[in-house]
């Protein structure tokens, strides 16, 4: 494919994680041609897919850093944007729990750290108050620091909603296409994927774990990213009665530690570990990792020992070679590098976007308003915290597909699944449907509904069941029609 046939854009972003999608959404407010490229077949399938689902206040960030400033700003932007984006955000608050006298002595310093970051509503909680606020907490507690602003969020919708909002405002998404080459040309870049060449004036590297590789393609050799694995354990919904707040441990020098938190879906989450590795694709769970998580979590809520685990998973954080975020906007080269966002990207994404897009405008990115801009995301029939459509007689009467419950554990109806499979950023994998509807994420872990779900995905996408994948090429859910080969090889 020659340059003549290349599609032409003002901005090409590499990376459709929470940060890339936030930048794309911000750019969509202007009359610009914007494209997002990602190697995965769905948005938010890298670091953004496996996290704690928490929007932080930034009380514990290192004062004076870009990260501290953008986490605090990101928190505000989420609170403002969540309703229009239809993303479930619940300000449940956090309790930073001291289990020993030494830890208790550190709470004052943490409160002061918060104050320096502009978080002034932190309050000390006595042991008695804490036992009242969290009746299931360990009797070993000495006290806690209350952080009212810490919130839980639907981390999947956090990405999908921003991407969808960008898409309805004209941003193009090229998913399942890895960037093979970047060539500097006069007045911009040529970005090559296996399927196309994109000519762009600006290049934004928001590739998370692979932001170093993308930077290298753009001849920047100083960007380094190493993966830091975090393993998580999810408990079944009855465990939800045991906690009301996000329960944070007193952080150590090495890590924020293993927290116990409610999720917007009604489960309880425990994790993560923090183990530096070398393999960015390693999402395996390990016995020792899970043991570490369980031991730490049970120290705070011993009663979880009797609760049922639904699933375990792992994510990789992108750790950069700077001590702070790397946010570089090179106005001369029209190159933006966003790297080393570690674990705070979910919170800070919109603030990162605000800063980066502001700097791009300062560097000459034209900023005419997008006249057809739609301020809202298209309506969804359900989001966490709302009653499922199958409980609503009117909606079932309007569309009988809401009356056919496919995923029993989470009471997800065919109607919601069909909805997830259509629209501007439609799911077309099993994981995509799961992220948008929470189907198969319940206690049975797809025991009851896999076959029905496969049939619906195949029907709506107009493919064979054998073509349906879990998350893109190489992840086929099945192996073709049965009995095709009577003799096994």
């Amino acid at each position: 494919m020659g340059h003549e046939t290349a599609e032409s854009y003002d901005v090409v972003l590499v990376g459709a994680g929470v940060v890339g999608c936030a930048v794309a959404r911000d750019l969509a407010r202007y009359r610009l041609r914007v494209a997002v490229v990602d190697r995965e077949v769905d948005v938010g399938d890298g670091t953004s897919k496996a996290n704690s689902g928490i929007v932080h206040t930034g009380f514990d960030a290192k004062p004076g850093t870009t990260e501290a400033r953008l986490v605090a700003r990101g928190w505000t932007l989420w609170a403002e944007a969540a309703p229009a984006l239809q993303v479930t955000l619940e300000p449940v608050g956090a309790l930073l729990v001291a289990l020993t006298a030494e830890q208790h002595a550190e709470l004052d310093a943490l409160r002061e750290n918060g104050r320096r970051n502009g978080i002034t509503d932190l309050a000390m909680v006595s042991r008695d108050e804490l036992l009242h606020l969290e009746p299931a907490i360990s009797r070993d507690v000495r006290g806690a620091l209350h952080i009212p602003g810490e919130s839980i969020i639907d981390p999947f919708a956090a990405v999908v909603a921003q991407a969808e909002h960008a898409a309805v405002n004209g941003v193009r998404f090229f998913l399942g296409e890895d960037v093979r080459g970047i060539q500097a040309v006069r007045d911009g870049y040529l970005v090559a994927t296996p399927w196309r060449e994109l000519r762009t004036r600006w290049l934004v590297d928001a590739a998370g774990l692979w932001s170093d590789a993308i930077a290298q393609l753009a001849h920047r050799d100083d960007v380094r990213v190493t993966p830091r694995k975090g393993e998580f354990v999810i408990f079944d919904k009855p465990a939800g009665r045991l906690i009301r707040h996000i329960l944070l441990p007193v952080p150590t020098k090495i890590s924020k530690g293993i927290l116990v938190a409610p999720t917007v879906f009604g489960n309880v989450l425990m994790g993560p570990t923090a183990v530096d590795g070398t393999d960015k694709t390693d999402l395996s769970v390990t016995p020792q990792g899970l043991r570490t998580v369980m031991e730490a979590g049970l120290r705070m809520i011993p009663g979880l020992r009797r609760e049922t685990v639904v699933t375990t998973y792992a994510g990789e954080r992108a750790v950069g070679n700077l001590s702070d975020y790397r946010l570089e906007v090179d106005g001369a080269a029209h190159l933006v590098i966003i790297s080393g966002i570690r674990s705070t990207g979910l919170t800070a994404a919109m603030a990162i976007a605000e800063q980066v897009v502001g700097a791009m405008r300062d560097a000459g990115l034209p900023a005419e308003p997008n006249r057809g801009y739609r301020p809202d995301r298209p309506a969804r029939s359900w989001r966490p915290g709302q009653t499922r459509p199958c409980y609503d007689p009117d909606r079932v009467a309007q569309d009988p597909r809401y009356g056919r419950v496919v995923c029993l554990c989470e009471t997800v109806s065919e109607g919601e699944i069909v909805e997830a499979l259509h629209g501007p950023l439609a799911a077309h994998t099993l994981d995509g449907v799961k992220k948008r509807t929470w189907a198969t994420a319940g206690r049975c872990q797809a025991y009851f509904c896999t076959a029905a779900l496969l049939a619906i995905v195949a029907r709506e996408r107009g493919t064979d069941v054998s073509a349906v994948t879990k998350r893109g090429p190489g992840t086929h859910a099945t192996a073709g029609p049965a009995g095709a080969r009577r003799k096994a090889p």
Binding site: V396, F448, A451
Partner: protein, 428 residues
């Protein structure tokens, strides 16, 4: 729009053997209007999904296929004028005997005079089996395999490893082979085969598939599709990897008790199913529970029998003939893993039928029930295994509110040597 209300005499949740058995018996006792609600589009529960033979050996003295067995139960229910409503998912059951259910035709609120829960069981998901590793495509339960092959005519994979040697695991071997796929091994953590030997001879041996006893699954390998499974052999031998594209986690059934739990019914910590008395009456008056919901997977005939007894009891309850008198708990004796029912209500409605599971495999064992150290029931000598219940019938004569009832096993724990002997015979 308000949810339409339908008054019925009894609402049964689940159209498997237990639910259909209960409903049919209720109609035979002239109870009036009985509805059975089931989310599937066909009646019969798990047997309806299963093509293989071996159902109904106790009831019909003939090895029916699952479909034939389900068909017989469904026809009996229809003949008894039971209303079976399919494609209908029960969303909630309340202590006031209201059952809310939804189908494409709409929501319905059933006001019942008795509710029978027969929601069955499911296989334990992977995360609970301590199998670490990657999370690729190609990991299934046997129920999913049945549905893929049965409903969708779709092959789950071409080279499978089955984890677990309960009957469903052994039968999955045959299923895969008949669909044109290979099975590389059956991996069993315990040092003995859990399923019936007959099943091994029928479903596994003809295909020369090795059964790896005493092998623990360490992790699943594969970033995108399953590429293999790592197992640790007994005795500290090095971990070995079996290349495959499919892993089936079979068996380890747990009651599907969320509906009961959300209704406020106390669950038994041993079974994780509802706590019931000998009439399958839960702690909530008018709500009964039966079948695999009470104990995990037993044979369909056992579930059917329980369902019929529960139907009988519910009919008596509707006629005001079921005692709500004092109950005494059944205490665990030696080697007891679980017992259903967990307690008995003191009345004169005849002997009590117990399903008892041991915590370890025992040979030359008897199940023993005592009242204040007096023997009130015992079985003949048999071999028992943890995942399959032994039946014991106990007389309530002489039992009063102060009696201490205890059920346990007397027998010898099956030695590892005995287990290892069978292991030697199994691994071809």
């Amino acid at each position: 729009m308000d949810t339409p209300v339908l008054e019925v005499d009894a609402a049964v949740v689940g159209a498997g053997p237990a639910g259909l058995g209960a409903a049919t018996r209720l109609m035979q006792r002239r109870v009036g209007r009985v509805v059975v609600l089931d989310r599937e589009d066909q009646p019969g529960g798990l047997p309806a999904q299963s093509g293989h033979r071996g159902f109904g050996l106790l009831r019909y003295k003939f090895p029916l296929t699952g479909g034939e067995y389900a068909g017989r139960l469904a026809r009996a229910a229809t003949a008894a004028s039971v209303e079976v409503r399919l494609g209908t998912t029960v969303l909630s059951v309340s202590p006031s005997l209201e059952v809310v259910a939804v189908s494409p035709a709409g929501l319905v609120r059933y006001k019942a005079r008795a509710v029978i829960l027969a929601t069955g069981c499911r296989e334990m998901p992977r995360a609970l089996r301590a199998a670490g590793g990657d999370r690729p495509s190609g990991i299934f339960n046997t129920a999913v395999v049945h549905r893929l092959l049965g409903t969708l005519q779709e092959l789950p994979g071409r080279r499978a490893v089955i984890v677990g040697s309960e009957d469903v695991g052994l039968m999955a071997v045959r299923l895969f082979r008949h669909a044109g796929a290979r099975v590389l091994a059956v991996v069993e953590e315990l040092p003995y085969l859990l399923g019936y030997r007959a099943n091994y001879l029928y479903s596994v041996a003809p295909f020369r598939v090795p059964v790896l006893l005493g092998h623990r699954v360490v992790r699943v390998v594969g970033r995108r599709r399953v590429e293999g499974i790592e197992v640790a052999p007994p005795g500290g031998a090095p971990v070995r990897r079996i290349p495959c594209d499919t892993v089936v986690f079979s068996g380890r059934f747990v009651p599907e008790s969320a509906l009961a739990r959300d209704a406020g019914i106390a669950l038994d910590v041993r079974t994780q199913g509802p706590l019931v008395d000998q009439h399958y009456h839960t702690v909530l008056p008018g709500i009964f529970a039966c079948g695999n919901l009470l104990h995990g997977a037993e044979s369909s005939d056992v579930a059917l029998e329980e369902g019929e007894r529960a139907g009988e009891a519910a009919a008596a309850h509707l006629a005001g003939q079921l005692a709500a008198g004092p109950a005494v708990a059944i205490h665990p004796g030696a080697h007891l893993a679980s017992v259903v029912p967990q307690r008995v209500t003191l009345d004169d409605r005849g002997p009590v039928h117990l399903l008892v599971r041991p915590d370890v495999p025992l040979v030359r064992a008897t199940v023993l029930a005592t009242r204040d150290a007096h023997q009130v029931g015992r079985t003949r000598r048999l071999s028992v295994v943890p995942h399959r219940a032994a039946k014991l019938t106990v007389s309530l004569q002489g039992v009063d509110g102060t009696s201490r009832l205890e059920v346990g096993f007397a027998g010898r724990v099956r030695s590892f040597r005995e287990a290892a002997a069978s292991w030697g015979r199994l691994a071809p």
